[in-house]
């Protein structure tokens, strides 16, 4: 289910802490990166490894906004609309993203390629408006920049998938 390299990473991460439970969030996040979301299997596996009961993992997942229990698109587009970005037109950018991708906040395109999410401050306020696609930052966004980026990402995908 989970790759060997990820399981190895699990071991390394757990070894960092005096208390195994401490590794819970990192484990969940890295597992999510690989699986696409925090699946039931991931919950069970992480619970087992950090020696807690599954409900404690569920509690933690519910708390952190980056952890999802349901699949999201391959490219998770997260647009900041917090104040610094808002002042620089983030709301318009976000609206444009909705139109371009044809989806609304917290939705995924039917081909499973893109998800869109309005997020809070990303720590890129001086490059506002900003967004992250997965973990990559894009700053000083404009609708044109966004379109170009989406086209580029689409091109990277094998045709068969579309």
């Amino acid at each position: 289910m989970l790759s060997d390299s990820l399981l190895k990473k699990f071991d390394q991460l757990i070894a960092r802490y005096p208390l195994k439970r401490s590794a819970m969030v990192p484990l969940l996040l890295y597992a999510q990166d690989e699986v696409g979301h925090v699946s039931e299997e991931v919950i069970a596996e992480v619970a087992r490894r950090v020696e807690v009961r599954p409900i404690e993992v569920v509690e933690v997942i519910g708390y952190y906004s980056m952890l999802h229990r349901h699949p999201v698109g391959k490219y998770n587009v997260q647009v900041c609309t917090n104040i610094s970005c808002m002042l620089r037109g983030a709301d318009e950018v976000f609206e444009h993203c909705c139109k371009k991708l044809g989806i609304k906040n917290k939705q995924t395109t039917p081909d499973g390629l893109f998800s869109l999410e309005e997020v809070e401050c990303l720590g890129a306020c001086c490059g506002a408006p900003a967004m992250q696609i997965n973990y990559d930052f894009y700053e000083n966004l404009t609708p044109e920049k966004f379109d170009a980026l989406i086209e580029e990402l689409k091109k990277k995908e094998p045709r068969s998938k579309m």
Binding site: R53, I55, E56, V58, E59, G62, Y63
Partner: protein, 776 residues
């Protein structure tokens, strides 16, 4: 050779050990959390609250200090005995020299502190918190299950904030059924986390968590959408609002339409106080409403939900008489004379020793006492016994012999003990309240818990040392500890060493220790430092009382020996009749007598020997006469010539004695048409047999018990105000004839002998269907 270890049938869910040296003091944690402890031994601290001087031990919280001064500070998340949260902010008070309002539930008193709880600022803060709580709260108290006993409703009434300025639409989540017994209604939840904590800290089940965050935070159960837990319902009871509701009570009625009677739970031997709520002569709910008694708000699943058998439609409500091989419905007027007639005939033909009586471990002391008198003086036989689930008699004998007859621990003592040794038994299942008390001792008093057991039991999680022995090895280990056996393992050596460092250990033992092993345990236990005290664990509401009242062939009420002429004389003078000198048959011998034909007539009161002793039913066919007084048809009653419909614990008055030897009052709560109590049955039978006893009520019998039964000279007023009054039995009963006379039914949390078969609630939860003794 590798010793075969006993494999427990219990499933133990993957539960991490609590990490002892990694103390996490957060408001929300699963490890030991903030819980300041007042130190009553230290010099008190003086502070001023609303101008009143208050002296309290250091470490006391302001909210508790105020309580002592008679000043109430409202609180939701604070709950005495549970860890601190600082979440609801209801308890904000002004403390001089502090810049902002402080939470009284997390602030520890300091000398010279000046606290104000009723300033405008404080009152406004309180109102504000209530207003916040009501923003997303449905304001439909009239249809809420908690209406009339809701802490939020009360607070709004007292502190204001009824009119709301909240113009937004309320957030909503659908109500969820966590289990057949527990429902959760999110909009009503004020997130005080009491349920989470009581389940974790009190029950050590830890079935709840918190999902999402912010205004969408919610209580979540451990199995996705469902709970898998002990189903004790503590969370329902402790919930200040109507967010958690009971599957058996919800929407059935309104609290003010009920009548309430405080009585004692009839299931295990722990004797929890409970309040039965009645409407139209039907029990609607049980909870320890006024939190009186040692169990406070505690009740286990049986106590809280397992009373519905009382209302079961298969209850016997008319006597049955066998006619032409079939049991037919009859009347008391026909049945009682018939019993007398048949009994008299048997005695006439075969003598009193052909008659035997088996009593109950659930009926009242008064009934047991009268049953003994009936057997010994009316029938003229000592063929009298009951299903003994603990060897109380040997404990009394051993303590008396050691001149240590005060060394009985009460159920309250357990919660404040500093050291506890549990030998055998699985208190979580068999004695849920004692298990709770043990956990409390560990949690609140850092008690050291030692376990000696052949199975894995849940209390291991609280234990300082667990000695696991081979199946049935508990007694052998006790002998080893006492130096009577050479097979001392390393573990036992360590246990011995550890216990020698403790003081005032309470030793709690199950049916694994009986007969001479009890004596060995007592003798060894008394060599430990401090005042060692003892508790024998017996099943059901009145196992202890059955033994105390002498429902035994060779033991008189109060543990005098039948062979002891002074003891006999004392009881005889009370009864104004002679006790037959020939010793009687114990229960195994009675049942053998049934098989061999020597016993011709058998009277069974509230007992099911066919099931309990695996007696082949056809043996009963050899009897000339079998009478059974019961609540429900049982394997034994089916073979009876006469079946008398008895009253349940809810329908009669009297007293019961818990497994620690504390007497409590059982109050009649309701009537069940057609039934009669054992007391009434015995009085009638005695009268018909020419013994017009002068007792008119159970109270009359109790007064005689107090006056004549050694150890039962208790203060009646204490009993009547609802206390659990400790008895001090002493005596020199004969040694246990054979160890197989004592054995526990090993009920699980969800079973309680016959009656649990007739409880919808106990059978409705999935956990009850898991392997016996499923542990969480």
């Amino acid at each position: 050779m590798k010793e075969q270890t006993h494999k427990s049938p219990f499933v133990i869910l993957d539960m991490p050990p609590k990490q002892e040296n990694l103390h996490v003091p957060g408001p929300y944690t699963r490890s030991p959390s903030l819980s300041p402890r007042a130190n009553p031994a230290a010099e008190p601290v003086t502070l001023t609250i609303n101008g009143k001087e208050v002296k309290v031990p250091p470490g006391t919280l302001v909210i508790e200090a105020a309580k002592q001064a008679g000043i109430e500070i409202p609180s939701y998340c604070y709950y005495p005995g549970l860890t601190l949260q600082g979440a609801c902010r209801m308890c904000l008070v002004a403390i001089e020299k502090m810049p902002k309002l402080q939470t009284a539930c997390t602030t520890v008193v300091a000398s010279g502190m000046v606290v104000h709880t009723e300033t405008e600022e404080v009152k406004n803060a309180r109102k504000a918190m209530l207003e916040f709580l009501l923003t997303n709260h449905p304001l439909d108290c009239p249809v809420c299950d908690k209406g009339g006993e809701c802490e939020l409703q009360d607070a709004v009434f007292r502190y204001g904030a009824a009119e709301t300025r909240f113009m937004e639409s309320k957030l909503h989540h659908e109500e969820k059924q966590f289990s057949n017994l527990v429902y959760y209604d999110w909009p009503r939840c004020i997130l005080c986390y009491r349920c989470v904590r009581v389940c974790d800290e009190g029950l050590d089940v830890n079935a709840y968590g918190i999902g999402f965050r912010g205004a969408h935070s919610e209580i979540i159960p451990n199995q996705g959408e469902k709970l898998e837990c002990e189903e004790c319902g503590m969370c329902i009871d402790i919930c200040p609002v109507g967010a958690l509701t009971s599957g058996t009570y919800r929407y059935k009625t309104r609290p003010w339409e009920l009548t309430y009677t405080g009585t004692i739970c009839n299931h295990c031997g722990d004797g929890c106080k409970t309040t039965l709520a009645i409407r139209n002569n039907v029990i609607i709910r049980a909870n320890n409403r006024d939190h009186s008694g040692s169990n406070g708000e505690f009740l286990c699943v049986k106590g809280r939900f397992g009373w519905d058998f009382v209302n079961h439609d298969q209850r016997l409500t008319a006597p049955l008489i066998r006619k032409n091989g079939r049991q037919e419905t009859s009347t008391w007027e026909e049945a009682l004379p018939m019993v007398v007639e048949r009994l008299t005939a048997v005695i006439k033909e075969h003598g009193p020793s052909s008659v035997a009586v088996i009593g109950s471990n659930r009926t009242t002391n008064e009934e047991n006492y009268l049953l003994g008198r009936f057997a010994r003086t009316v029938l003229g036989t000592n063929n009298l016994d009951h299903h003994r689930t603990a060897d109380f008699s040997s404990l009394v004998g051993a303590l008396t012999a050691a001149d240590a007859d005060g060394r009985y621990a009460t159920i309250e003592d357990i919660a404040v003990a500093s050291s506890i040794l549990v030998v055998g038994n699985d208190p979580t299942h068999q004695h849920p309240f004692i298990a709770y008390q043990i956990r409390q001792a560990v949690r609140s008093h850092d008690a050291h818990l030692y376990l000696l057991n052949s199975q894995e039991i849940k209390l291991q999680r609280q234990a300082k040392q667990v000695v696991t022995v081979a199946a049935g090895g508990e007694a052998e280990s006790i002998r080893a500890l006492a130096g009577k056996s050479s097979t001392v393992s390393d573990d036992l050596g360590t246990l011995q060493e550890n216990l020698r460092k403790e003081s005032g250990t309470i030793i709690i033992f199950g049916d694994e220790i009986r007969g001479s092993d009890v004596t060995t345990l007592v003798q060894w236990g008394l060599t430990l430092p401090g005042q060692t005290r003892f508790v024998a664990l017996g099943d059901y509401a009145n196992s202890r009382g059955a033994a105390d009242m002498g429902l035994l062939p060779d033991v008189l009420p109060g543990y005098g020996s039948l062979a002891d002429s002074t003891a006999c004389a004392q009881i005889e003078s009370a009864w104004g009749a002679k006790i037959p000198a020939v010793s009687g048959r114990n229960i195994r011998s009675i049942l053998q007598g049934v098989e061999s034909g020597e016993i011709k007539a058998l009277l069974v009161f509230g007992s099911n020997p066919v099931k309990t002793f695996s007696l082949p039913k056809e043996h009963l066919g050899k009897l000339a006469f079998l009478m059974v007084a019961e609540l429900f048809p049982t394997e034994t009653s089916e073979a009876a010539d006469v079946v008398l419909p008895a009253t349940s614990f809810a329908e009669k008055s009297g007293t019961v004695t818990n497994t620690c030897g504390q007497v409590q009052v059982l109050k009649k709560t309701m009537r069940k048409a057609g039934t009669r109590s054992d007391l009434e049955i015995l009085l009638a039978l005695a009268r018909l047999m020419g013994h017009p006893w002068s007792y008119r009520t159970a109270d009359d019998v109790l007064r005689e018990i107090i006056a004549h039964v050694p150890g039962y000279a208790i203060a009646l007023p204490n009993l009547l105000v609802g206390r659990a009054v400790q008895t001090q039995p002493a005596g020199t009963p004969p040694a246990l004839a054979s160890t197989d006379l004592v054995f526990s039914s090993k009920d699980s949390l969800f079973t309680s002998g016959t009656v649990s078969r007739y409880s919808w609630a106990l059978n409705s939860v999935d956990e009850a269907k898991k392997p016996h003794g499923h542990i969480f």
